[in-house]
Symmetry: C2
Subunit: 421 residues, 2 copies
Amino acid sequence: MQDSIQTYMQQVGIQARKASRILVSASTHLKNHALSAIYTALENNQAQILAANQIDMENGRQRQLDSALLDRLELTPARFKGMLQGLKDVIALVDPIGEITDMAYRPSGIQLGKMRVPLGVIGMIYESRPNVTLEAASLALKSGNAIILRGGSEALESNKAIAAAIQHGLQVSGLPEHAVQVIDTPDRAAVGHLITMNEYVDVIVPRGGKSLIERISNEARIPVIKHLDGNCHIFVEAQADLQKALPIALNAKTHRYGVCNAMETLLVDEAIAEEFLPRIAELYAEKQVELRGCPETQRILGESVKTATEEDWYTEYLGPILAVKVVSGMDEAIDHINQYGSHHTDAIITENFSLAREFLARVDSSSVMINASTRFADGFEYGLGAEIGISTDKIHARGPVGLEGLTSQKWIVFGDGQIRQ
Amino acid sequence: MQDSIQTYMQQVGIQARKASRILVSASTHLKNHALSAIYTALENNQAQILAANQIDMENGRQRQLDSALLDRLELTPARFKGMLQGLKDVIALVDPIGEITDMAYRPSGIQLGKMRVPLGVIGMIYESRPNVTLEAASLALKSGNAIILRGGSEALESNKAIAAAIQHGLQVSGLPEHAVQVIDTPDRAAVGHLITMNEYVDVIVPRGGKSLIERISNEARIPVIKHLDGNCHIFVEAQADLQKALPIALNAKTHRYGVCNAMETLLVDEAIAEEFLPRIAELYAEKQVELRGCPETQRILGESVKTATEEDWYTEYLGPILAVKVVSGMDEAIDHINQYGSHHTDAIITENFSLAREFLARVDSSSVMINASTRFADGFEYGLGAEIGISTDKIHARGPVGLEGLTSQKWIVFGDGQIRQ
């Protein structure tokens, strides 16, 4: 069985690589034509896809999956409509491939520049949400990449039904059928092969829980675009305008709790803490946000505030809990963020130009903000059109990853006979 | 001993991370001041450094290192001068850090853009050439990164002497002393720790033989900037101008043999082979280049041409040997390059616009050229000022890697109180 899985995955890899060699020079028109054909196929097969999803839901209930998982798994007509709208948005995006930039003559007479090209083959590993199948496939196709999709076993029937519509669209348009492949075995060994066959796969994009992503990036022999968690901070500096600080601190924590760009720790300069903390605490109390504070926070806000432990500074609560720390100034705030943060998104609230500038330079995160809510760190808010993931690494794409993150730039040289002296 | 090496490397890592937090906001003036102080310290200590190198040379002879290795190890006064000139060149480079680009308003009112920042901590692993110690350290400092240097045991005394001068320059300028650290234990376990301590090191740059680089990239738990080999091609297309094709094909093979951007396989369109091959073969014969050809090449050039085996198409000869293949046209040429090549540098010689354009799009290499010698794929020729390595990967830096390859871009957001709706 192990052998046959390996042979199967190898075959999938070879087919993906072959398809990618064709996709690399597919025209924008052809790619959009394929995406439109996929749109039509999905529309026409809505009933079958929702029925397949009901089989997954039924199996899930029998396997006693928890309700949060079942909720993410379910494809309602409204969600199906949203999925189609997402595909329309991708069709409308500008094709990044073929962009030539920076062409300039060198003293030797060659003309040198860069050209944007697809990465090649993307391996996508994800859990439950079947809409990711379409999202990832459409972004891959638009950027000229082949993609191998490995969804969770709980969504197998839904993913296969969506994949069938994608296949139909590829066939109609004449793009290679192996441009999008769905791994349809529940065998977990498939993932092990996918993340190590670097001859056929250029990048791995995992989406799911922290433990899944941690395991994949530890075992992968291929670059991984990932973020493990979003432990975001807001630092309310001594010269903050409280008319900005109060709504931002409220928004960043309470706009949505379960998202990676929500604030998890609030840092407050001691010079402003006595004034700011009681006012923001009142707003949090209305939203029933639990505060966990340092001793100084507790002194100011009283006994209702729990004691923050060392572990709290590291924690992504993803819920109505907030750690609060009073700091002696910029240096302590920045050191705290760089030490305990997850390099996702961090903001300063201040009217002081020089301190804002310093915060920008020294905070080592994929998004650094001045006087804005961390909730803006998002592919749609950044105008990327769609997002295949968020990266907290520094190599390659950083922050929200859209179409451009699925591309690379190669050097190109135009000459008329130049040789090296 | 294993334990103490681990503790030592951990300490090195912690110190490097700490230094990088300071370097991230060091001014261009301060960084250049430190590099100038290093220049002076090297000048003043030339005698000691060359003496230390002589100890390495003597030890090398006693250990019976081969002559090529000893040659690379030796620091002559002329090489020392070249090393100092390289440092001057780095001082003259534009500081890439802090560059802010693409700032634009989003519909929400936030102003979004990107800022160029250091990667953080670089781990450099290299063999024999002691001048790499200075080259790597100066590029790292200029780009605001801390660096951990692990040279070969055969160059330990030379590297320590150069590092002492670097330390002196750092002290004089007030930059943190741990900005540049040299691992001074010959214990090979040090490398194993260096390439896995991803908490303290952001990128690994290995320089050396293919087997060293292969081992490092297999075992690393940190992104690696590398190229394994340079199996470069030139495709002489049917509509090539032979006045360009002949000198380019000669130059790309014979300008220097032991370099990664030399041509190793020549592909010739069958329509032009009868005319082109005898003429280029004559030029190669003058330079005593051995040809290994496909059957068609042998038919045209006669029995003096050896038979190319499957292995020849994969081989980076790094010497006066060239594989030659007659192909039926573009498709076969591109398929050959993408299958057997190493994604380093490949060129087409043609006067046909549409074919040139297609070659550019479809060849999956870090540099793709039209009517120019592959020998131009080089940091200096590309105007990068200096080169820390060449990357044949698609993620992050691709092709010659200069200062910019040691940086990353983060998103920055300016607001005046924006919250997410």
